[in-house]
Symmetry: C2
Subunit: 315 residues, 2 copies
């Protein structure tokens, strides 16, 4: 047998939003701009550059407008931003992004605690965001948080996630990304949920945003590809991830882009990202932000690095 | 679509051989025996308890005979040992093990450097091991090292691995386990190679021994199950793994048993191992050997631990 896999996949780099947001320290705007420009030079398809959230809510991204204004726009890169509501969407349009990620959460408890809104309130904001995008070149993706697990409610009923996907599709979004906010989903849950929603709403484009809390993110990627998903979010150095996790999990965040690109490339699946350039950016970011070796590629877990080590040992 | 997966899998715990062997310090025999007895109480199907190698070659396992004599034999556990040659097999028979793992390597360079033998020499030893097993209740598995990559030769031609599998099957072994000695294989390589050999020699039982150098071991497990493999080696705390790896990879070894059991159980695949007991043994071993948090389960990446953390934070 052969695994049924896509020929190529689209990769979305989340570091500048999901990663910088999570750090305790504010990364200076100059450094953010420099890293985003390095990321676009890897060839990665899409970069989530920031979040147009109220600066008091996410102070680490309070320079969103300035970041968007100062980066070098690579014509091959789709620059997108997270928008939590219509106010954020207006700022995103002013900032001339190509795409927005409208965040929705399935869990009522999570929505209330983290955004102080009900799920219905959020869905109304999505309607407004789609209306604002109408007549512009800006595409709208719905990022569906807590698609599988919620820190307050535990396992999320797939039917609840389906209802939110249905509402997002009805609102007219161009793409839907399911997010494993807690990083606890497994390959069977991933394929089951995607199979159901892709059958029900076949005209929407789907993506997967993975956290690696349980170490299954690459297995989940493999499973999702077999269900027909060909868009994946990831973050250089794995920076980002869950807000509420055990202390020892602080270093475990998103799927590291360098590990994901290594796997896909080794499997013969095309990504626009150059593995060597991604590896170089990962080393740069790890050093610049003092992260340590937070991915297998950073630790030297590639064919080239292992063979180099052997050669050095034999010298 | 649904993933085509086995209903249950057999798990082989490698810690007492692959793990203890890799440590710089000799783990006292009392502690080895205690850990093996804790492992058998998890319900895991099979345990590789030691290696009957010359004590000068692997001094960390110089107490092989004593370990085998002193452990409590759980009637539901298959106790096996690694045997590198006919001399080791004689010791294994004297030690009353249920099964042996006859190690073969595909790479000529690796065989010469690590065992000071040619691949043909090793295959002759396997013939002798099978002859010695004949008429006893002891089953023989061939563990095929460097099935995918070799530290000295790089990528191994699948045809070379197939030739060694063919010779092992002809020798009359009961089972064949492919080993990703360098931990660099990817899911496509895993399914391709297993599909080929399982089609050519359908009457043999197959297993997979994974190292996690590139972080793909759970993805490789998922891929192998889809090719029909239902036997997996793993090691509590991930202890074990490649002998020649970059310095930063020292903590990256085998697939951690606790992460593997978590994934399989979450996916609804039966293993005999109780996830809670496996988690408890992993914490014990991590503390007893001072390993730190070397797996996602040890870091707290389970549904239960994450929800506990949230509850505590909300208290």
């Amino acid at each position: 047998m052969a695994l049924d896999l896509p020929e190529d996949v689209t990769l979305v780099e989340m570091l500048p939003r999901d990663g910088f947001q999570r750090l305790d320290e504010f990364v200076p705007t100059d450094e953010k701009v420099d890293i985003i420009d390095r990321l676009s030079s890897t060839g990665v398809d899409e970069i989530e550059i920031t979040s147009f959230t109220h600066p008091d809510a996410v102070p680490t991204l309070r320079d969103a407008d300035e970041v968007a204004a100062r980066i070098d726009r690579n014509p091959d890169t789709t620059y997108r931003a997270l928008v939590p509501n219509a106010v954020g969407m207006e700022r995103a349009l002013d900032a001339d992004v190509d795409k927005v990620n409208a965040l929705i959460t399935v869990s009522e408890s999570y929505s209330r605690k983290n955004q102080n809104m009900t799920v219905d309130d959020i869905l109304e904001e999505v309607d407004a965001i789609v209306d604002l995008a109408d007549g512009t070149d800006v595409t709208v993706e719905a990022g569906i948080g807590t698609s599988f697990y919620c820190p307050y409610e535990g396992r999320i009923d797939p039917a609840a996630t389906e209802r939110v996907v249905e509402r997002a599709v009805e609102a007219g979004v161009d793409e839907v990304t399911l997010a494993t906010t807690m990083g606890l989903a497994n390959p069977v849950q991933v394929t089951d949920l995607f199979s159901t929603i892709m059958e029900r709403w076949p005209d929407t484009t789907y993506g997967l945003h993975l956290h690696d809390t349980n170490g299954m993110s690459l297995a989940n990627t493999l499973a999702a590809m077999q269900a027909g998903v060909d868009r994946f979010d990831s973050s250089v150095c794995g920076l980002g991830g869950g807000v509420v996790l055990p202390e020892g999990m602080a270093g475990v965040g998103n799927t590291p882009t360098e590990d994901l690109v290594q796997m896909l490339t080794a499997m013969g699946i095309e990504t626009s990202a150059d593995p060597d350039r991604v590896e170089a950016v990962a080393h740069h970011v790890s050093e610049a932000l003092g992260l340590g070796a937070t991915s297998h590629v950073l630790m030297g877990g590639t064919v080239e690095r292992v063979l180099e080590t052997v050669e050095e040992a034999n010298d």
